[in-house]
């Protein structure tokens, strides 16, 4: 590991649902600037749970989460986290809840307290980044699968995050969209954690890869 401060660090984090076996058990993990970490594991191994813990959608049963040099415990602590750590959901239909692309991408910046003019510029910039500029007025549910994924990513980028958490960003895409997402992720400067089943994809996109097995981070793979 490098000696600069990690953007986020999980120390001894465990999580379980009420009355169930632990899903995550004593997880230790750090993400440094410039890193792109791949996270693999079977269905139900807790990959998504891990991402949700980082942005405070779930609360760990034990352990500590430090993000951007501060310990984060309560809902209020995570308000700042969510403005600087963007989470891409598995299903774009969960992420894109507004009627048009424009409104959806503007939702984050408006919540950050930006005025309409600034939000408008952020929308434009984010859509240009993912190569979807000019589609501001498209109806969200008329987009193709690949377009939805790209717009979802734009909704995150419009908030100018330092970290991206991506839950199966390539899953279910046709070859051209797949390639587009792949090269886009390689071109972005943010540190990332990318969850996927696709070893080949992670191999080309990430700088190191981890596997979740029985609630533990089971050593880095090549």
């Amino acid at each position: 590991m490098s000696d600069n401060q990690p953007l986020l660090r999980l120390s001894g984090v465990s999580f379980r649902h009420a009355h169930a076996a632990p899903i995550l058990n004593d997880i230790n993990l750090a993400l440094h600037p410039g890193e792109r970490v791949g996270l693999m594991g079977a269905i139900g191994s807790g990959k998504t749970t891990l991402l949700h813990l980082i942005v405070g959608l779930l609360t760990p049963h034990s352990g500590q989460i430090d993000i951007l040099d501060k310990p984060r415990r309560e809902e209020r602590d995570f308000w700042e986290v969510r403005e600087r750590v963007g989470l891409l959901f598995q299903d774009p239909d969960d992420q894109l809840f507004c009627a048009t692309v424009q409104e959806d991408v503007a939702f984050g910046p408006l919540n950050q307290g930006k005025c309409r003019e600034e939000a408008h510029q952020a929308v434009h910039k984010a859509l240009a980044l993912v190569g979807m500029d000019g589609l501001e007025d498209r109806i969200t549910h008329h987009l193709s699968g690949g377009e939805k994924r790209l717009v979802s990513l734009a909704t995150l980028l419009a908030m100018e995050p330092d970290v991206l958490l991506l839950d199966e960003p390539e899953n279910g895409l046709d070859p051209p969209s797949y390639e587009r997402i792949r090269s886009l992720l390689l071109s972005l400067p943010q540190a990332m954690i990318i969850v996927s089943h696709n070893a080949a994809f992670l191999q080309t996109v990430t700088t190191r890869r981890l596997r979740l097995v029985e609630g533990k981070v089971a050593g880095a793979e090549p």
Partner: protein, 255 residues
């Protein structure tokens, strides 16, 4: 396939700002729904037809809508004149058709067709989420608007989920019959989709939180008011005034 599509197009009507279209439709519909003499209703129907032509409404779907309405109207024409007592206008097979009944059925039919045509031409041509935002600009409560926009956004998603499950049921040999097994199966389908909708609602809420939602909904869509919209307002006002003066000037109107 989408079940939430409007009558898209590029006509003069489509290009108008939705806000004055909403106001004009409401005023027109309320006015026509009042007691009106025939010439006013005929004028109203004419206005509806002109609007439908200006909006170039596609013939088939429009015909289907009008048929739907007018089947009920046909029922009124059969039942009202034969059951309403009064001086008979004519009789078929010695069954008298009363003048009062015919008058009532004709009034309702004219009103319904005039309103439906104007409503479809002016509001059926607005993209639905834009309609929601236009209503927001017209001071409809924010929560009601967001309820509308969310319902609209997820209607197709849920509709697809239904179709996928129905297809899977069919693949397992399901054929709807009139028996308890069928009702129970449809009941399970409905309930399963409710459960999945609730879970999706939680994920949507999570996605909103992740993008900085802190309890207050902020969305915004601007509209532009052009000169053609001013012209539309002027024409709409003139038409409504003419109809109103016709109503009060004619014998049989309110004094």
């Amino acid at each position: 396939m989408s079940c939430t599509t409007h009558f898209a197009g590029h006509t003069v009507i489509h290009r108008l700002d939705p806000r004055p279209r909403i106001v004009a439709t409401l005023l027109f519909a309320v006015f026509i729904a009042l007691d009106n003499p025939y010439p006013v209703l005929a004028t109203g129907l004419g206005v509806g037809i002109v609007l439908a032509m200006l909006a170039r409404l596609p013939a088939r779907p429009l015909a289907r809508r009008l048929l739907h309405i007018n089947l009920f109207m046909a029922l009124l024409f059969l039942t009202l004149p034969t059951t309403t007592p009064g001086e008979p206008a004519f009789s078929i097979f010695s069954l008298p058709f009363s003048r009062v009944g015919l008058h009532l059925a004709a009034m309702i039919t004219l009103k319904a067709n005039a309103i439906v045509l104007a409503f479809t031409a002016l509001l059926g041509t607005v993209e639905l989420s834009a309609l929601g935002h236009a209503l927001q600009h017209l001071r409809v409560p924010d929560r009601l608007i967001h309820l509308f926009l969310f319902t609209l956004r997820y209607l197709d998603v849920i509709h697809h989920a239904y179709e996928d499950l129905l297809r899977a049921m069919k693949a397992r040999g399901f054929r709807p019959r009139m028996d308890l097994h069928t009702y129970r199966s449809y009941g399970s389908l409905m309930a399963m989709l409710l459960v999945r909708s609730l879970e999706r609602a939680e994920r949507v809420m999570d996605a909103m939180k992740c993008r900085g939602f802190k309890g207050r909904f902020l969305t915004y869509r601007p509209f532009d008011f052009h000169r053609r919209d001013a012209v539309f307002c002027l024409v709409a006002t003139i038409v409504l005034c003419l109809c109103a003066s016709l109503r009060w000037a004619l014998p049989g109107g309110p004094q």
